[in-house]
Structure formats: C-alpha cells, structure tokens
C-alpha cells in the first residue's frame, strides 16, 4: 500500500492527478458557479420612446455596471442599437441573445399609469440572460413604485432571442464537439509520439520512404474522421433524444477539419518537446485541462467571471467552439469567418512547428 502510494506520487503524472488536478477542479468550478451575477453582461438596447422616461430607464440600467466600467464585474452594460435595425437579427449577428426594447409611448404610459411592457430578449438556457431579466424586472418594479401619484403599470415581455427557442442542449452540442476534437487527438497523440519513440517505431518508420509530414497528415486525416463520427453521433443523440436543433451547413465542416488539424499538430508538438512518456503526459495535461473547462465546452463562456473569460480568449478551443456556435446556432457567418481564419492560421503555424521540431531519428 505504501509502496503503491509512493510510486503513484513519485510519477509526475500520478502527482498531478492525485493532488494538483482536484485542486484545479475545485478552484475552477468554484469560480464559475459561485460567481452568480458577478459578471458584466452586455445588452443590446433600442429606445423607441419619444419622452424622457425611456432614456432614464436605460441609463439607470447602464449604471448597474458603472457605465460599462471594465473594472466592475457585475451589472448590465448597454450598447445602443439604431432603431432601423431588427433587434432579433442584430443579436444573431453579434452571437448574443441579450437585448432590451423600450417601446414607443413608454413615457406617456408611465405618466398616465397605462399598462406598457419592456421587451427583454434572452436565451432561456443562458445564465447571462437570467441576470438581464432579473435586473430589468427589479428596475421595472422600482420604477412602478416611484411613479408620481401612486403605482405605475410597467411590465416585462420576455422574448426568446433567436428565431426559434434554443435550449441548453443546443449550446452543449457544439461545446462537446469541440471537447471531442480537443481530447481524443491530444491524449492519443502526446502518448503515441512518446511511446513510438520509446518503442523505436519512429526509427522503423524513418527507414521507409514515408516522410514525417506524410505521417502527421495521415494522423490528422484519421482524427478528422473520428471527429466527424463524434459529430454525427452527438448530433443524432442531441436531436433525437433531447430535441436539439442542429442546422447543417458548410461552416460546420470547416471546423470539423480545422479542429483536429490543430490539436493533432499541438499534440505532436507537446510529445516532441518532452522527452519521456511521463513528462509528455504532464505537459499534455497542462495544455489540455484549461481548455477542457474554460472554452465553453460545458457552459457558455459568457457565464464565467470576467477574469476567466479573459483566459478563455487566449485558448484556441474557445475559437473552435465559438465558431461552431456561430454557424450552428446563430448562423452568424461574419463572426465565424474570424474564428475560421484564426484557427487556420494557428493550425498552419503549429503544424509547421511540429514538423520542424519532431525528429524521428537521433543525432
């Protein structure tokens, strides 16, 4: 027993999983779930009111985030949208679901205590939308009680942001596809690159006309295949078991290719820079685990505290999942092109570095 414990803690990988990993997990999940309303939510707003009350209402809402102060980690940050825009479409183009519309005649109805409703766009699956709706309702009720000469009659009309109603599962499917594109190549390739070296399989391969580039490409093609299979399985289960909405389009295919392309190259690079299977596993974990939880795999990045969101924006998987969400849910290709371009560039660079540094003979 003691021998086992020692051996387990001596191996760096054992040390990581026994002691470090649980601490990382509790810190991470603690930060995400205890944050509650502790993150600033961006809300797109339109004001059709021709009196003063609508503008006051919106500016009061905006002050909950100290007028979008970057150092302030809660409240609503309002972004005004021109009245000529269709807000629902505009939200799609921003891959957002949070919006507010002040209807025309708001000031007059407020003053005369006629019933009138503020429209709040949101996504029932997202915690950010819950925050928006909560804060707005609070303001509506306080506006009602401060009305001159008794209670005013403001209300809230909740509206689902995207054309049809989206559920948590709809956001989970792209997240999990990204998760699959990350984990299976990363774990398999880091392990394989170091064990192949130990078992001299690379030596054997280097004695054939096969080149390193061809070998790496063959692995990439294999993992594009496995990622496509996981996509099909997850979409099928999501669609038929949980009633998810999967919109098929060419954008998905681009990400199903770029994801494995990048992560196979990255796995190879990690396996190459570390000289034993054990250290490859440690480096691999260090690279993989932050991405696994912080890139929007299991919960939307928007629901995480600001400092974790900042971390997410430097993780490549974030852009893969963001891109998949853009093409699968919002049909927002303008943003997806950015994700595609970024993924393409880092994939090509990582691939080139992997080929450059990976040697299959010794010197």
């Amino acid at each position: 027993m003691r021998v086992y414990a020692k051996g387990n803690l001596r191996s760096r990988e054992g040390f990581f999983f026994t002691l470090v990993f649980p601490i990382i997990l509790i810190l991470l999940f603690g930060a995400i779930f205890s944050s509650g309303g502790a993150s600033q939510v961006r809300v797109y707003a339109q004001n059709f009111d021709n009196g003063p009350a609508g503008a006051i209402f919106l500016s009061e809402l905006n002050s909950t985030s100290h007028n979008c102060s970057p150092s302030y980690n809660s409240g609503l940050c309002l972004v005004m949208v021109q009245n000529s825009q269709n807000l629902s479409q505009y939200l799609s183009s921003k891959s957002s679901s949070d919006g507010i519309i002040i209807p025309s005649g708001f000031s007059q109805a407020y003053a005369t205590k006629q019933p009138i409703n503020v429209t709040v766009y949101g996504n029932p699956a997202s915690t950010s939308s819950a925050i928006v709706s909560g804060i707005t309702r609070e303001f509506v009720s306080s506006f009602n009680s401060y009305g001159v000469n008794g209670t005013a009659n403001l209300g809230v009309t909740p509206q689902t942001a995207v054309s049809s109603s989206y559920k948590y599962i709809d956001f989970l499917v792209p997240g999990l596809i990204g998760f699959a594109a990350l984990t299976s190549p990363m774990f398999a390739i880091t392990n394989l690159s170091s064990t192949y070296r130990r078992d001299k399989v690379f030596k054997l391969l280097s004695l054939t006309p096969l080149t390193k580039t061809e070998w790496l490409l063959s692995k990439i093609i294999w993992y594009i295949g496995t990622t496509c299979v996981s996509f099909i399985l997850m979409s099928a289960v999501g669609e038929f078991v949980f009633g998810a909405h999967i919109a098929l389009n060419w954008g998905i295919a681009v990400f199903l290719v770029l994801g494995p392309f990048f992560f196979v190259s990255l796995g190879m690079l990690v396996g190459t820079v570390s000289n034993s299977p054990e250290s490859a596993a440690v480096v691999g974990n260090l690279v993989t685990f932050p991405m696994m939880f912080l890139s929007g795999t299991f919960f939307p990045v928007q629901s995480m505290p600001m400092y974790l969101q900042a971390v997410a924006h430097v993780l490549p998987l974030y852009y893969l999942i963001d891109g998949l969400v853009n093409v699968m849910i919002y049909g927002n290709f303008a943003s997806a092109y950015f994700d595609m371009g970024l993924m393409l560039v880092i994939s090509v660079v990582t691939f080139a570095l992997a080929v450059r540094f990976f040697r299959w003979r010794e010197d």
Partner: protein, 306 residues
C-alpha cells in the same frame, strides 16, 4: 565492390566516447558480425550506418552513399531490424507486411515473404501475442519487403530460447544464400562463429580483433591447451614442479601448450603428482577463449541491454 566502408569512425555522447575511431569494410554478399559485450558501441555503429544517428568524425559509406545525408535513397536499398524490435500491438504479421510494403510502394506477396522467414504459421496472430522469436522473424520479413541489398540486424537473437535462435539463424543463412550482405551485431560468440564470414570484436568503442574466426583464433589464441578435471592440489604441484603456464578454478586445471614437448612434460607431471584426475582433453583455443582474453571476463556477464 564494397557494401560498407568505415574509416576512423567516432561518436561521443557527452563524456562517453561510445565509438572511438573504428575502421573496417564489408564485402558484398558477406555476413559480417560485430561482436562485443553490452555497451561496446555496436548499436551506435550500426545505427550510424543505417542513417539513424549522425557520426562525429571519420567516414562511413553504405553502398557508396553517406547514410546521414542520403538516407532517403539509401533506405530503399537496405533492410533494418533495430535492437529490441517492437511493432504496434494489434497488427498481425500479414497486415504489418502489407502496410510496410505500401510504404515502400513495393509489390510483395505477403504470404510468400512470411514463408521465407518461416513465419507463415503465425501470419494472423496479433503482434503482442507473438513469441520473441516470431517477433524477430517478423522484423526480418519487414526488413525484406524492399528486396534490400544490405540487411542490418542488431542483436536479432538476444533473449530468445535456443530453438528460436536457431530458427533465426536459418533465416540469416537464407539471406546470405540469396546474395545479400548481412551486418549482424551480437554478444553471443556462438552466433558469430555459426554465421559470420568475418568478425570484428568490439570493446569500449574500439575494434580489438578483426578477421575470420579462424584468423582471430590463430592470431590471438595461444595454440593448444590441455584440460583435466582435478582439484587445486594438482595446480599447485604443476606450478611448483614445472615451468608450464597453468590455470585452475578448483574443478579443472588447464595447461597452455607451447609445443608438443610441453604435452609430454604435462602428462608426466600429472602422473607423478599423485593427485586425483580424470577427463583429459586437448583442444585449440576457441573464439571464446580469445574473446575472454581480449575483452575480459566481465564482458560475458549480462549487464542489461544497451
């Protein structure tokens, strides 16, 4: 024409001079064996010739090519089994041969090739379930898919039981019969004696003897030796009463004979000693005796691989 030419080859790892200026050449169609204890530098040498490691100094040419810079062309003409050959766990030998052949874009009949290395009976067993000898034979099959002119075998029989070892030897003899050049490293003397046309004995990165087994035996051997089974009292008697060169280990006494007269003196002295003895043999120095003298007794003990 020479298949392999090595001149003044050196390779150093940090403080360790693993190969320390060796020179030899191998003729086409010859079986050449590098014989030496673990750590002698055999693998380093053979991997430099295969183009898997870079040399520090000296010249190395295989089939007229520099193995490090012309590896791509060279690899089409040579076959290699690395030391401790392993393959992926799940392919069967037949699948492995087919896969390897596609890499070389070579047309081979996998069944015929497996038959040539006497592995046809295990053609469809997963690699991880093959016996040690069968794994080595698969290694040979893979090294042959490109119909190589030179085959490099690094300790192909280490760790095999005597029967499996003999089966591998049979395949190596076939390679020679087919006219291929074979470079073989081993730390088994018997293997070099059985198979090699010429042998280089290596120790601490240097070649300490080079030639046919018979050449080496006569050049470095002490000639005839007489051995009787007897206790050390006989050893003491012979040391005290004759000028013969003797050696004993408590169970047997060996007398090194410089000429025929030594034999007569030894026989007489043994008889006179009154010591108990039997099992008298006289034989020439064998490769083993020379090897022990050149490399030292430590050379034969197992120190683990590499």
């Amino acid at each position: 024409m020479l298949a392999i030419e090595v001149d003044g080859l050196k390779k150093r790892y940090g403080d360790l001079q693993a190969v320390d200026g060796i020179s030899f050449s191998v003729n086409k169609g010859e079986v050449f064996s590098l014989l030496g204890p673990n750590g002698a530098g055999k693998t380093t040498t053979i991997e430099i010739l295969e183009g898997l490691r870079e040399k520090d100094h000296g010249a190395a040419k295989v089939l007229g090519l520099d193995p490090w810079t012309s590896g791509y062309e060279l690899h089409k003409m040579i076959g290699v089994i690395p030391q401790g050959f392993k393959f992926l766990d799940y392919p069967t030998p037949r699948e492995a041969v087919v896969y390897y052949a596609t890499l070389f874009r070579a047309k081979v009949d996998p069944d015929e090739l497996l038959k040539r290395v006497i592995l046809d009976e295990a053609a469809n067993i997963w690699f991880q379930n093959l016996s040690g000898g069968q794994k080595q034979k698969l290694g040979m099959a893979l090294s042959l898919v490109n119909d190589p002119q030179v085959v490099f075998l690094d300790e192909p029989t280490t760790g095999l039981d005597p029967q499996a070892r003999r089966a591998v030897w049979e395949v190596i003899r076939k390679l020679k019969a087919e006219g291929r050049t074979v470079m073989l490293t081993t730390h088994y003397l018997e293997e070099a004696e059985e198979l090699a046309d010429r042998v280089a004995i290596m120790d601490h990165g240097r070649i300490v003897a080079l030639g046919t087994v018979a050449d080496i035996e006569s050049k470095f051997g002490s000639g005839q030796r007489m051995t009787v089974r007897a206790k050390d009292d006989l050893l003491r008697y012979l040391k005290d009463n004759t000028r013969l060169e003797v050696k004993g280990d408590g169970r047997a006494v060996t007398v090194f004979l410089r000429d025929k007269a030594d034999a007569m003196v030894a026989m007489g002295a043994i008889e006179e000693s009154g010591a108990e003895w039997d099992d008298l043999t006289v034989r020439r120095d064998r490769l083993e005796d020379v090897f022990l003298r050149l490399v030292g007794e430590s050379g034969t003990e197992e120190k683990g691989s590499d």
